[in-house]
Symmetry: C2
Subunit: 338 residues, 2 copies
């Protein structure tokens, strides 16, 4: 057990890519729980595209992180001291510990994690907010039908890789867009995508035209920008676009224009809808049931990209935006208890 | 009865505003019906923003008008000769006669118009495709709830003026955006809008902020462009945007960027949906019932802007885009039979 609470505090709003100097490294005393509180030690820190939005000055669906505060983040941890009857020492929980070793919580905000013979990181991914995001963003927003064409961007990312596999389970023809040939191979050979596009080396609009001869019915968008435009130019009547993320714009230093093909929303009677996973927590039970069954049946695969050490968090988050990560990005902050 | 069939044929794709020279004036023999056909003489020609789209080279939800063909348009006419058992001479019908005096139709594509003590033009407006557009575009797409804030652009136009009034019937706070002080006065004093913005003399974003202190829940968009952007910057969580038209772009000579505030779709979990009235013909019976009742009860008012003479059609259509028309724009092609 570390004898201090190591922390990354946000001290300036990043411009473009995140720099280490946007954060201050602090070592503080480990906090002590009061009655009703639980002290949690972090094992895995989840790095998600939304984290980058929280660093900006403007509030989004969550308030901006205040300068000087510990950076916010979702975590998986272990209880090291409990003054709450529902949590005992050694049990695993999910919580917003943030970019530090330890945090105190009132018992009611902690989500207990069952001890099952599956990797702990699954709960920060497939059986956590990532799986819920992929499931409701695809099924609740776009209602895919058998035989429809589904395009997914950031397809080798945590959410995108699950979306494409759910699309296959639902009988869609699935095209994934990703940032390397290696990722594209993985999507096709391991995850069963029908086709892929490497957006770094191929012309996305031309390849979509070649790969989607019947047009595009559904687009699950993680990136926005030019790829969204390429898709909008080829949508079918009554197409549905689920906006999960717009990461191509998160690092932007000034506002970018919206899609040039926007008028196709009218011409094609199409729908574009954004969503935030926190609005779908009431669906979690049912969704985890489905995802768990598909996972056990081998229909859903899930990859975790582990970065070692809390000290590497500030630079590791850039992997989500430069196309270098594959699967769910997490930071291993401490060893899993045996 | 004119002894020739006067016609406007489209001979070049307009660039920007429509010019008379984009059309050719022709005088042809009046066609003669074969068995099963009906000869219809036009009384009123409907001019609608979509007409401008049909003049462009690219197909939209309807194919582009072929160069050399009579310009397409919705009309209200009278049967002058019938070889179909369901239609007798002197009865009124709705049909796509286009920009000419006469046309032949197989009986099955004609919609009979009942003889009621209301103006004939009502059937090209409130009780026609305009009323259906306003009704389904607002109610079926955005599901307004009492107390919500609804913003309507092109509010003094045929569709917009009905949308705002339906919004009031449903208990919304309604803000209309229009192009002159006279129109704004009409919307407030005659139609019961809560507030208005003259987009030609006022800063739309600033006025929206002042007039919508609780933010915007619903936007009925007829125009797109900068006004859409001003609205998107001020939407509430779970806002719904119904895209009925994007007239600010119809005359554009090159593609325009989409809205800069597009990311708010994600941040606010908002929905943008386009629609085409022809997909809602199955709703017509029920919708006309509601609209008719509101009209009879004095809850819905409807204004018609009549231009005299088929010869004026090419220039009259520009009134839809320069902000100079108020209410439903029609061309009176021939006198109503007494």
């Amino acid at each position: 057990m570390a004898e201090v609470n190591r922390q990354w505090r946000l001290i300036s709003r990043p411009v473009g890519a995140v720099k280490k100097s946007d954060f201050e490294w602090r070592e503080e005393p480990i906090p002590v729980p009061n009655e009703g509180e639980v002290l949690v030690k972090q094992i895995y820190l989840s790095l998600d595209p939304a984290n980058r939005i929280w660093m900006n000055e403007q509030d989004s669906y969550m308030p901006a992180v205040v300068l000087g505060d510990v950076m916010r983040g979702m975590s998986l941890g272990v209880v090291v001291e409990s003054k709450h009857p529902s949590f005992s020492k050694g049990s695993f929980v999910q919580a917003m510990i943030g970019w530090q070793d330890y945090a105190l919580f009132p018992g009611k905000v902690l989500t207990p994690i069952p001890k099952l013979p599956i990797p702990l990181t699954t709960y920060l991914g497939l059986l956590g907010h990532i799986g819920l995001t992929a499931y409701v963003g695809l099924l609740d927003i776009t209602h895919p039908k058998e035989g429809e064409t589904l395009v997914v961007s950031a397809a080798a990312g945590a959410v995108g890789s699950i979306v494409g596999q759910i699309g296959k389970i639902k009988g869609c023809y699935v095209v994934g867009i990703a940032g390397s040939d290696e990722k594209c191979e993985w999507l096709k050979k391991e995850l069963g995508f029908d086709a892929t596009i490497n957006y770094k080396t191929e012309n996305v609009a031309e390849r979509l035209k070649a790969l989607c001869p019947k047009g595009i019915d559904i687009y699950f968008d993680n990136v926005g920008g030019e790829i969204l435009d390429a898709v909008l130019g080829q949508i079918n009547k009554k197409a549905r676009i689920s906006v999960c993320g717009l990461i191509s714009g998160y690092n932007a230093e000034k506002p970018k224009p919206g899609p040039y093909y926007f008028p196709n929303i009218l011409v094609k009677s199409a729908k574009i809808e954004g969503f935030i996973v926190t609005d779908y927590v009431h669906r979690a039970q049912e969704v985890m049931n489905d995802l768990g069954q598909w996972f056990m049946a081998g229909k859903l695969k899930f990859k975790v990209d582990v970065v070692d050490g809390l000290e590497n968090a500030p630079l590791a988050i850039n992997k989500l935006f430069d196309g270098s990560n594959q699967g769910k990005l997490v930071v291993k902050v401490s060893e899993e208890p045996s």
